[in-house]
Homo-oligomer: 103 residues x 2
């Protein structure tokens, strides 16, 4: 019985991000290509409100999970996962497998 | 970009359980011995209110994460992880490692 209480925060950090309704699907979409644009994310997360999508992207960028690269040719931006973000993917996959098996 | 929206629920199922403040530490405590009693959990999750602990245990039992085995010799019960519960441990470990690395 050796889990120090301080470890609670470490788990919480990951669940806070992955526990959001849209974030898992957004992370998958961003992970599946080298980079992705806002409208592509909107198409893939069908049903997401543009305002919600925008807010999630800002949060993920602030948290260092994704990075935004403005396209030089236009006002549009592209998003890609950082190392911190791509390190979440195996956890996401494991959670998904667990959920599929047991729910 | 192939994550169906239905998969959101699978991830949600796991984050709903692991996202709770106390559940990760309770799962660790229960996992670290063959079975554990209420008072032992209370000692190890120092700071948990007995009413909160009781509520969490009921939820975890209802969710099929732990099982309660009444001790024949007394009124006290012991708790242990089910297969469903122990299958959460690698996810918990991965989340903890991610949180330690990046927070």
């Amino acid at each position: 019985m050796s889990t120090p209480l301080s470890d609670i925060g470490c788990v919480k950090a990951a669940t806070r991000i992955l526990g959001d309704k849209w974030t898992p699907i957004l992370l998958r979409c961003i992970a599946n290509t080298e980079s992705v644009r806002f409208c592509q994310l909107q198409d893939n997360a069908d049903g997401i409100n543009p305002r919600t999508l925008s807010a999630r992207l800002v949060t993920l960028e602030t948290d260092g999970i994704i990075e935004k690269n403005p396209l030089s040719s236009s006002a549009r931006a592209e998003y890609r996962l950082t190392k911190k973000g791509s390190d979440l993917l195996p956890i996401l996959t494991a959670m998904q497998a667990w959920g599929e098996r047991y729910r």
